[in-house]
Assembly symmetry: C2
DNA sequence: TCCATATATTGCATTTTTCGCAAAACTGTT
DNA sequence: AACAGTTTTGCGAAAAATGCAATATATGGA
């Protein structure tokens, strides 16, 4: 007979909100298998079912809701106690080197950094921006401590990944083409601007493939901002991440078309596993979870 | 890096009140070594000292007090939640066989049983009374599920022991001898009634030994009640457990003398380790801890 | 209806953690 | 200085947790 612990409660709490084992497992840096067993143990200890789940859906039971309320309250009090106990000691000082794409530095970074600076005003943040594809390499080579990166299937095992946001891809068309729905598009006529590299490259290629479309390629360009520019100029149509568009000055020159069955990608913070417990890094990751 | 768990909190809470590793370890069925390390882990996680301790004294720090208050509150809420979750299921039914001495059945058992019956009215309790020395044997042979027993050094490993009370020994003298202080006693003159067997036998012998006293023995008798009788009759003086005296009708025929440096014994519940998790037994043990 | 896909769970080998015993270290007392 | 009572530590054994890979199962579409 084992005892309730705060880690299990944390996992439970996250799951109770996400209602998705895979996502919670990813966010909390465990495998789905581990998460599944943690929940099983919890149910064993509470002697009741917390989630009604088949392989397709996860729902919180009445008992689960009770535990959730207990759990949230307790964890919150625990955090507060910790804060009290470490109030003096925990004035974090030092330097954190970060890396992210130009886009991310405008979209997701500001909120994160402003919170961070507010909580830890004595920490210096050295930010480098550049090609998002380099994020992982930069972290691995320790050129930076934390990077904003995209989660891929072959994500290196020695890194941890903390999700920040899910970024969908949208199809954009020149405004003057006057296209507003997916079915308006004739893939034989309209030329397409593909991403030359980066994570969206494979996603887009895969999408064309499953739809048995052989697009007329106008150009393969590097950098999502460039795709927006070319589409805005009327060269063709293309897929870009939602955030890129949201922060583009050319957004009003194009039409957005939501494509339901194209997957986006998971944006998050990444750092070396070995640095996960480093106080400055830990504080940043913690922030991303809230 | 491990996480806070409710077992650690429970151990901590007990220790914070007993301020004695050995006692807490005994009460919570772990070794002192384990307890020590649990506390170390706790301190490690809180990043502060919870107890100032050398090998002679244990004191709760300011941080310790904060954690204690958190801990008590949380554990209490947890218990309540568990009660809510299991409210229907947990109507305990069945039979528990108990064994204890006649004295204990009058002194410590009533409170325990009345609480138990109140909480679990559908549980039948079969009580057998008899020689306290047989307690352990009865439990081992499964003639009973739980017994009130005295904790000894060579307590069997396959049993668990849950303390109920510490029973001091007192020196009693016939009222007419008019003795009220230890130093009034001339061990050359006054004859002594020794327990023939039982746990107090060794304690008393040891006490005489460390004080270099070779008592004049009037008689060795079996059963503490008998000692009280003989002392009351004026045959001599002797040591008996405080509880025995408190429940004796002859208490007013003798004088009590507190002897500071004679140890008493630990009274508690005992049962087979294997039965510890049996619901009916568990409920009883739980009761003894409060 | 059957298949492809997404998702939770389980078997198993490995790693990590915990436990208890015995010995050591420490401290106040005789 | 030896002792007695307590806490702590070293260490080997046992237990628990974890990740990977395989399995089971439900859902939606061809």
């Amino acid at each position: 007979m084992q005892y309730m612990d705060f880690r299990s409660l944390t996992l439970f709490t996250h799951l109770a909100k996400s209602l998705h084992f895979g996502q919670t497992a990813l966010a909390m840096h465990v495998t789905a298998s581990t998460l599944s067993r943690v929940i099983q143990r919890l149910e064993d200890e509470c002697q009741c079912t917390l989630f009604v789940r088949n392989n397709r859906s996860v729902k919180l039971t009445h008992e689960g809701k009770k535990l959730l309320s207990f759990s949230e309250q307790t964890l919150q009090q625990w955090q507060q106690l910790q804060a009290e106990l470490n109030s003096e000691k925990a004035v974090l000082r030092g330097e954190v080197k970060m890396y992210c794409s130009v886009t991310a530095s405008q979209s997701h970074l500001p909120k994160l950094l402003s919170k961070y600076r507010q909580q830890h005003p004595h920490v210096d943040i050295r930010l480098t921006t550049g090609d998002p594809a380099s994020s992982i390499e930069r972290v691995l080579s320790q050129q930076c401590d934390i990077a904003i990166a995209i989660h891929t299937e072959d994500f290196p095992n020695e890194l941890i990944f903390t999700p920040i946001d899910y970024v969908p891809l949208v199809l954009i068309t020149p405004r003057e083409f006057n296209l507003s729905q997916l079915k308006d598009i004739d893939w034989q006529t309209h030329q397409v601007i593909l991403p030359e590299q980066g994570p969206s490259r494979n996603i887009v290629r895969h999408w064309f493939q499953t739809h048995c479309i052989a697009p007329h390629i106008y150009a393969s360009v590097g950098g999502n901002e460039a795709i927006v520019s070319m589409v805005a100029l009327g060269c063709g149509i293309g897929f870009v991440p939602q955030v890129v568009l949201d922060h583009s000055r050319l957004a009003n020159k194009v039409n957005q078309i939501q494509v339901s069955d194209i997957s986006g990608y998971q944006l998050g913070l990444t750092c070396l596993k070995t640095k996960r417990s480093h106080p400055l890094v830990k504080a940043m990751l913690q922030l991303a979870l809230n």
